[in-house]
Structure formats: structure tokens, C-alpha cells
């Protein structure tokens, strides 16, 4: 019989007497037996089935008492996540922003209406609106406030408080202007309160209070796509221009603090450029989005 078959039979404990004789006569019989005997030393650790069963049953009994607990914890966790997500999203401030050359009008939860001029960010909280009507403003906006509790417009320069009225707030770099068109507006600037009646305005440039005459119109000019200026530094005119048209100015030999009175329209850049340069005897040249201003 072939050696391989003999060994296999030996391994499977399947040798009959005749096979056993043949197997014993194999030349590597001694080697095989030695290997087989020595391998036995690698026996697995003792395993006591009944002891292990007791251990398993003990664990199972401990676990079953807490079985109901696990799903309950899961449900609670999901609810907690949902609730916090809901809470987070509802208490989040609502933010509206406009880009260069963009205007928009929105309605606040109490039907007050706010028009935003170009490059302006306005945010308010829907959740706490009932308790306090607070909006944060960075830029320029016109408010038509519905009657109700006090209405606050917070800017980095100061706070404007209203009691049902129409007013315009303009807060730009070093520039803070409030014009009241109807009703009464209170302006807190450097913790000092100033009350504005219809037609009054409040203007701060570079930290200095500037007196202005009564406002005759009933709405700010920008709502009619026009920017008006009365004795304002030329730099304010230029930065407002940059906000309405996507352009940047390059100035050559020009006094930016010179006072300017006039206006420009928001819908035609060529006419608008003429209206801000001609009165000051300036010339302009326009390439792409850059406008170079020169003295004549």
C-alpha cells in the first residue's frame, strides 16, 4: 500500500492489523510517532464546560434584567439629539445680507418692513422676537416699524430705539447716520441718548457729530435708486459709489475730505460717474472695474 494512504489511515485511526504491520515497516515510522507524541504537549488549556456554563448563565441573567434598559436609552438619546437640533435651529439668528449693487426688502415677524441697501447685513432672532424686537445691522437700511413694544437697531457704532415709525440707519466705516422720517427715534451713541423727531437726522463721521438741516423727503433717496449727499466728505460719496457699482476707484491728486453736495443714480454708471465728477471739475477714465479719477 502506498505510504501516503498508510499515513492518512494512521492519522484517522483507521489501520487494521495488516496495515499496522506495513505502517510499522515504513522507514520514517519512528519520526512520525515521535512527532505525534510530542505534539500532545501542546494541548489546549483545560476546559471545564460546566464551570463555563455557569459563568455564561450568570452573565445572561445579569443582562436580561437590564434588557429593557438598552432600547430605552437609545430612544432617549435620539430624542435628546432631535430636541437639541430643533432648539439650535429655532434659536439661531436669521441673517439677511445683500451684496454689491443689490437691494432687498424683507418683512420682520411683526410685519415691520426693512429695506436693505447694497452690501448690508441684517440679523434678528425669530424666537425671541415676541419679547424683544432687536435687529443687528451692519450697513444701511430703511425701517418701517409696526406699532408695538420698543424696537432696537444695534450697530457697532450705536443703538437706535424706535416706537413705531419710519427711519433710515446707515452705519459704514467711521460713518453713522440716522434719519427719522416719521414718529420718534432715540439714538444712543457713546451711552448718550438723542431723540429725533420727524425730519431730524443724526450724523457721526470719524467720531464727530455733524449738524444737518431738516430732511424734507419722506423716504431715503436710495429707495428710489439714487444716492443723495449734502455737504458730505467726498470719500463717503466714493465708498457709497463702490457699493452700488462693482468698481474700485484710483485717485490721483484728489482731496477726499472735500465736501460734496449732489447725487448719483444706481442704474447707469456713466451718468452716475459724470454726476459725481463734473461738479468738482474732475475727469474719469474707466477700464474694466477700475475707475481712475484725475484733476482737470
Amino acid at each position: 500500500m502506498k505510504r501516503e494512504i498508510l499515513i492518512s489511515k494512521w492519522l484517522d485511526n483507521d489501520l487494521n492489523d495488516q496495515d499496522l504491520e506495513a505502517f510499522k515497516n515504513l522507514e520514517d515510522y519512528d519520526d512520525l510517532v515521535k512527532l505525534s507524541n510530542n505534539v500532545k504537549a501542546f494541548k489546549a488549556d483545560d476546559y471545564n464546560a460546566s464551570e463555563e456554563l455557569d459563568r455564561a448563565l450568570k452573565t445572561i441573567r445579569e443582562n436580561t434584567t437590564t434588557h429593557w434598559f438598552k432600547p430605552a436609552v437609545r430612544v432617549a438619546a435620539i430624542l435628546a439629539v432631535c430636541f437639541s437640533l430643533y432648539y439650535y435651529t429655532t434659536t439661531l439668528d436669521t441673517t439677511i445680507s445683500t451684496d454689491v449693487a443689490q437691494k432687498t426688502t424683507i418683512e420682520l415677524p411683526d410685519a415691520s418692513i426693512v429695506s436693505l441697501n447694497a452690501k448690508t447685513v441684517l440679523s434678528y432672532n425669530k424666537k425671541s422676537w415676541k419679547d424683544e424686537r432687536d435687529v443687528e445691522l451692519n450697513g444701511e437700511a430703511f425701517f418701517k416699524v409696526a406699532k408695538g413694544s420698543s424696537f432696537n437697531v444695534k450697530t457697532t457704532s450705536g443703538t437706535v430705539t424706535v416706537y413705531g415709525t419710519q427711519f433710515n440707519v446707515k452705519q459704514r466705516n467711521h460713518y453713522f447716520e440716522v434719519i427719522c422720517y416719521e414718529g420718534i427715534v432715540g439714538v444712543t451713541y457713546n451711552s448718550q441718548l438723542t431723540k429725533l423727531k420727524a425730519g431730524d437726522s443724526f450724523l457721526i463721521i470719524d467720531g464727530k457729530l455733524i449738524a444737518k438741516e431738516k430732511e424734507a423727503s419722506s423716504t431715503p433717496s436710495w429707495l428710489n435708486n439714487e444716492s443723495q449727499f449734502k455737504s458730505l466728505p467726498y470719500k463717503e460719496v466714493l465708498s457709497e459709489f463702490e457699493r452700488q457699482y462693482k468698481v474700485t476707484f484710483k485717485l490721483e491728486n484728489i482731496d477726499i475730505n472735500q465736501l460734496f453736495t449732489g447725487s448719483f443714480a444706481h442704474n447707469n454708471i456713466d451718468i452716475a460717474l459724470k454726476s459725481i465728477t463734473l461738479p468738482l471739475h474732475l475727469t474719469f477714465s474707466k477700464t474694466n472695474n477700475t475707475v481712475i479719477l484725475k484733476r482737470e
Binding site: 485511526n13 505534539v39 489546549a44 476546559y47 460546566s50 456554563l53 452573565t59
Partner: protein, 171 residues
């Protein structure tokens, strides 16, 4: 239907009988495959607890393969396939009383070679071979445990034997 309902593993007596029937084989299988470092006893416990937790979904005749697969996976989760080195009992039954030092040294050397050769086997070879040689299981029993054919078991065991002998000679 009624009979099947009765025959669930959720019954503690049935669970216990399954435990008594398979736990030792499962333990030895894990031991020979992965060594003792990874606590084969604990993995057996875990596998049976998992069986209990899923008792309503598993019929008793599927329990064995569930246990072997689960325990195997539990082990695989823990190891990054490091080499398995089985330890051998230090207190080897002494058959000769008048062993001379040289013979003892040779014996010791042989055991070390054997240990190394065993760790060089594939997991499948080692499990089948040691179950056969140490636990005295016949090919058919091993085939049933591992869910493979008798022929495959024979091939593994014979292959393991040949490889061991070759390794021991070379080492």
C-alpha cells in the same frame, strides 16, 4: 410550528445542552487557531451570550455554525494576524528515568523546533492537525465541526504533517 416554537434556544435547558455539546470544541478550535493569548475562554463566553441574545432568531441546528462564526469573528476583530505561538506544558510526562543531559538537551531542542514549525502552519492546517492529534478526533468529526468535507480535512492534516516534518528537519 408548535414543535419549532418549543425548540428555541431561549429555553435555558436547550441552551445548556448546546453549551455542553459545543463549548469545548469551540474552545479548542479557537485555542489551536489563535493561541491562548487572546483568551479563547472569554470568546467562547461572548459567543454564547450572543447566541442567547439572538436565541429567537436562531434554530438549534444552526447554533453550531453561528457559534463558530461569531467566535471566529470576535477573535479576528482583536488580532492583526500576528503569528500564533502555542505554549507546551512544562511538565512533560517522563517516560525515562535515566535520561542523560545530552538526551534532555536534544529533547528540548526538538520541542522548540516543533513549536516554531507549528506556528508556521496555516491556521486551517494547525486547527485540523491538532484537533486530530491532541484531541483524538477523527477526520469525520473535524469535518462536521469545520463545515468542510472529510477529504479536505484529510488534506489539511496530511499537509500539516508533511510540512512539520520538513520544517523540523530544516530548522
Amino acid at each position: 410550528m408548535g414543535k419549532q416554537l418549543h425548540d428555541t434556544i431561549c429555553e435555558e435547558s436547550i441552551f445548556s445542552s448546546i453549551f455542553n455539546k459545543h463549548s469545548k470544541d469551540l474552545h479548542n478550535f479557537l485555542y489551536y487557531k489563535f493561541g491562548e493569548l487572546l483568551n479563547p475562554k472569554d470568546k467562547v463566553q461572548e459567543a454564547f451570550i450572543k447566541l442567547w441574545q439572538n436565541c429567537s432568531k436562531i434554530s438549534p441546528d444552526k447554533a453550531k455554525s453561528f457559534l463558530f462564526t461569531t467566535a471566529n469573528n470576535l477573535m479576528l476583530n482583536e488580532i492583526a494576524h500576528q503569528k500564533v505561538v502555542l505554549k507546551h506544558q512544562q511538565t512533560k510526562p517522563k517516560t525515562y528515568t535515566n535520561e542523560n543531559p545530552e538526551f534532555l538537551m536534544q529533547e528540548d531542542e526538538y520541542m522548540q523546533k516543533l513549536q516554531k514549525a507549528l506556528s508556521n502552519l496555516t491556521e486551517a492546517q494547525r486547527v485540523a492537525f491538532l484537533m486530530n492529534r491532541i484531541e483524538g478526533k477523527r477526520f469525520k468529526e473535524i469535518a462536521e465541526l469545520l463545515n468542510i468535507s472529510t477529504k479536505a480535512v484529510e488534506k489539511r492534516i496530511y499537509g500539516a504533517l508533511e510540512k512539520l516534518r520538513k520544517d523540523i528537519k530544516e530548522l
